[in-house]
Symmetry: C2
Subunit: 249 residues, 2 copies
């Protein structure tokens, strides 16, 4: 499995992904699920992927190749004039890859499906964030749904739902995402450190801070430990429950 | 969907279940997912169910009928000598119901599968808690896995994993479960109030406190509101994150 989040903030976009991939619990390895393409100052594009690894790697390779071969018939994500058109290209590529595998009549145990989070900005336009489905269609983040998750999304969702604020600085968003990832990692073996983190500062149109949070990262460990303490404290500070005597059987 | 939790504490067993059932989002209704059987002072049995509603209702009806017809060939859960044998009866009944539906060749869109949490105590033995799979087999809770969840389990899991303590009084466990349910309800439409709550005090061998938490329950609402505030505070009190300048691209 996988866990990736892309989030829209007033200050730009922020992305976090884990790096664990597994084909069964006895075949676990580490792989990068976050890719960037940029023309510094003109456009920045980030792609997060969850699902069948062969599918997502093929999508990335195809997108990559098309940026390098200007004679290609298909437009490249580096030349498309809008993020909407880039999302269309990415969605079409994903659908093509899945369809080509299906045509062979082979079946992967988990299917060949994959989902993608695509975010970026082209100079002169707004930063935009999309969720691309295996069918190749996609939806865009807005004020009502300002973040997307893919992969093992449920464990880490409640904390984001409850504490997300579009006005938060990137530093606070990193902290929130780390808590969300830590909750997921503690509950599910299929998601694990290291994590990849990247930001797109609004209107920079280039890759901003971009780092890997390693397995032994001291800050992440502090967050994880203190979060456990804070939760226990927070539960203990809630108003005490009393059984309604008259309702007991 | 559904969300149910059964939890082993030093002081006995505690159960909570929601009451929402849906066949598609346009067919939502309310149904009790928690059932009790008791011979006060001799045995208490509680069953929580998730999955196909026709399946789980058939299982409950069959278990019920067998307790009322002493001439039945199959042993009743009210006469079986141990919780292990009761779990076997429940598992067999569940498997039978699912198999009988499958034999007809019909297919329900979500399948006929269901999972059950079974807990109880027979005088002279320990309280025991089981998770019964659709295949009819089951596992028992122990010190390493002291609680079971069925249905929409992921949203509410991290808070239990982090704050469960077998020594906690029932009142604290109720509060913790309410937080877990609230996290789930906020993230997923398929789980909702009212909630059913029941406890088995160790060695009482009768149903203990047992109440329904209504949709407008003022205590639940306070927990939900204060929990949001507490989480926001807790996130804000975490050590601040700083981008590593040397690693930015």
């Amino acid at each position: 499995m996988t866990y990736c989040v892309g989030m829209r903030l007033d200050r730009g976009l922020i992305f976090m992904s884990d790096t664990r991939t597994n084909a069964g619990v006895d075949d676990v390895s580490q792989v990068r699920k976050m890719r960037h393409w940029e023309i510094p100052g003109e456009r920045i594009i980030t792609l997060l992927s969850a699902g069948n690894l062969a599918t997502t790697q093929a999508v990335v390779s195809l997108l990559d190749e098309r940026t390098k071969a200007p004679s290609e018939r298909d437009p490249s994500i580096l030349s498309a004039p809008s993020m909407f058109q880039i999302a269309t290209i990415v969605g079409d590529t994903l659908r093509e890859v899945i369809a080509s595998l299906r045509d062979d009549g082979q079946q992967a145990s988990g299917g060949f499906r994959a989902s993608l989070i695509l975010g970026g900005q082209i100079a002169g336009s707004e930063p935009r964030l999309f969720l691309v489905y295996p069918e190749g269609n996609f939806i865009e983040a807005g004020d009502d749904s300002p973040f997307f998750q893919i992969g093992e999304t449920k464990y880490g969702r409640p904390i984001i739902v409850r504490t997300y604020d579009p006005a938060m600085p990137f530093e606070d968003a990193v902290r929130l995402l780390m808590v969300s990832f830590d909750s997921t990692i503690r509950s599910n073996l299929a998601v694990d450190l290291p994590l990849d983190l990247a930001i797109h500062e609004r209107d920079a149109c280039r890759l901003g801070a971009n780092q890997r949070i390693a397995e032994n990262d001291p800050y992440f460990r502090r967050i994880s430990e203190q979060w456990s303490l804070s939760l226990r404290e927070a539960v203990n500070r809630l108003p005490p429950f009393q059984f309604a005597d008259d309702e007991s059987a």
